[in-house]
């Protein structure tokens, strides 16, 4: 569905206000996401996970420098195609709940998303109702404004918006931050349901343990590098099946596992 080859990204910064420098945020990143499965991107904050999502969606500032190639459904994905496809074929569930319009009820917002994807007004209304019901949002939640929704409900409204666009690639950026276990499981179930419908789902998160419950593959990122892509079942035991020491350290640092840190991973070449 989506293939990324040797993607690099540098963004400008201004050490003095008349001087522009570039800082590298993504370095020679390659990965591919297949239809009908959840692919998790895991890493610390600052690893470049959100920037990867913004690069795929074409949401970077104009003076960003990027290299490498993206392919979507077999054809090259350039900036023009990204503009044409986002909101239709490519959908982003953003990290910030402020992405919702504070002055519109949930049902209208989901309806708008369906209209933007090209549905008729009647079709959009119906699709919105169905999608909201699908994510267990009742009549009251459908008629609520964003500030009246809990964090988990707002996430599910955003997920419903991604679903009505009929997009075949859905990118969810930190969808479970700040949710209690019950709400978190509901949001993850919603993402797994999108994958079961045949969509490719990219789950960006720092929460390795819960990503593993729905993901088929996991890409571990560290400081702009893709450290390793492994099948989810390889995160098992002491992590002996994992290739990189960093992925093993990440796995072993979980409180259900060793909860200790082997600093050996700091010697690996991609951290130099």
């Amino acid at each position: 569905m989506l293939r990324i080859e040797q993607l690099s990204l540098a963004l400008p910064y201004y050490p003095r206000f008349w001087r522009r420098r570039y800082a590298t945020h993504l370095n020679q990143l390659s990965l591919s996401v297949t239809a009908g499965s959840v692919h998790a991107i895991v890493g610390a904050s600052g690893a470049g996970k959100s920037l990867l999502a913004h690069t795929i969606m074409g949401l970077l500032p104009e003076d960003a420098r990027s290299g490498g190639r993206c392919f979507f459904k077999g054809a090259a994905l350039d900036e023009r195609r990204k503009r044409a496809l986002r909101g239709r074929e490519l959908a982003l569930i953003p990290q910030s709940l402020s992405a919702l319009d504070p002055l519109a009820r949930s049902q209208r917002q989901v309806g708008w998303a369906a209209r933007r994807a090209g549905l008729s007004p009647a079709g959009a209304h119906q699709a919105a109702c169905q999608a909201l019901a699908h994510y267990q949002l009742d009549e009251r939640a459908c008629q609520a404004y964003p500030h009246e929704l809990s964090g988990g409900m707002a996430r599910r409204v955003l997920t419903a918006m991604a679903q009505v666009t009929q997009a075949s690639l859905v990118i969810a950026d930190e969808p479970t931050v700040g949710l209690d276990p019950l709400q978190r499981d509901r949001v993850l179930d919603a993402l797994a349901a999108l994958a079961r419908q045949g969509k490719a789902v990219m789950l960006i998160t720092h929460d390795l343990r819960h990503a593993l419950s729905i993901a088929e593959h996991v890409t571990v990122m560290h400081e702009g590098h893709c450290v390793e892509t492994a099948a989810a079942h390889m995160f098992h035991g002491t992590g002996q099946a994992l290739q990189s020491a960093y992925a093993r350290a990440l796995w072993q640092a979980l409180p259900d596992n060793a909860f200790t840190l082997d600093s050996g991973y700091m010697k690996e070449p991609y951290l130099a």
Binding site: A44, G178, D180, H206, D207, A253, P255
Partner: protein, 210 residues
């Protein structure tokens, strides 16, 4: 010894959030607190730190009331650090607000020197959380209420934060109440664990937590 006796708390004209809650936290002791969202965990934490008053019951440190002014000996560390700092300040001003943490501690908490002159809004949530935790460790602080402080961190950063805090707490005999949804984390960190449910505090061993 930080002692809470028969605390009762209610939001205006609503049934009490919890009642008859008693808790003792000794110097150097780590206690875990879990509960569903809305159960009142954070409110209990805020009461213990003296940010709010209980409707009934009292809180004592070694038999005395919490001081009304000056440095609070019980520090509440909230889940969202960005709401606990002045967004217009630079990192160094936030970090040195209550005391001047030595460089060894800055390093132990993973606070990089290049952050210091940056405005706080340029730090990520996880980076800012470490700044806030270190800020709260001023001399004179004896108890910490850590309210979901590692939820937004990846496993390695989470572990590093707890290791740094554990080492410092042991050295200074700080008592720590850890509030978290993560049962595995609480089992790792705390000798005793409680669960707040149906307005009461229960010993957590009987509860099968997710």
């Amino acid at each position: 010894m930080l002692e809470a006796c028969q605390l009762r708390y209610a939001f205006h004209a609503q049934p009490p959030l919890f009642e008859d809650v008693s808790l003792r936290l000794g110097a150097g002791e780590w206690i875990g607190l879990s509960g569903d969202s809305g159960a009142g965990k954070s409110t209990l934490g805020r009461l213990l730190a003296g940010h709010d008053e209980p409707a009934h019951g009292h809180i004592r440190i070694d038999g005395e009331q919490l001081p009304a002014k000056g440095l609070r000996p019980v520090q509440w560390l909230p889940q969202s650090p960005e709401l606990a700092v002045n967004p217009h300040w630079r990192v160094t001003r936030v970090l040195n607000e209550a005391w001047a943490p030595p460089e060894t501690l800055r390093r132990a908490f993973g606070i990089k020197p290049e952050w210091l002159n940056r405005p706080v809004r340029t730090l990520s949530g996880g980076e800012l959380q470490r700044v806030c935790v270190l800020r709260a460790l001023a001399p004179g602080v004896r108890y910490l209420i850590a309210d979901e402080i590692s939820t937004m961190l990846d496993p390695i950063t989470q572990l590093a934060l707890w290791q740094a805090l554990k080492a410092e707490a042991e050295k200074r005999k700080l008592g720590v109440l850890v509030i978290s949804h993560d049962a595995a984390l609480l089992r790792r960190l705390c000798q005793r664990r409680y669960h707040l449910e149906n307005a009461r505090l229960h010993a957590a061993e009987h509860y099968q937590l997710s």
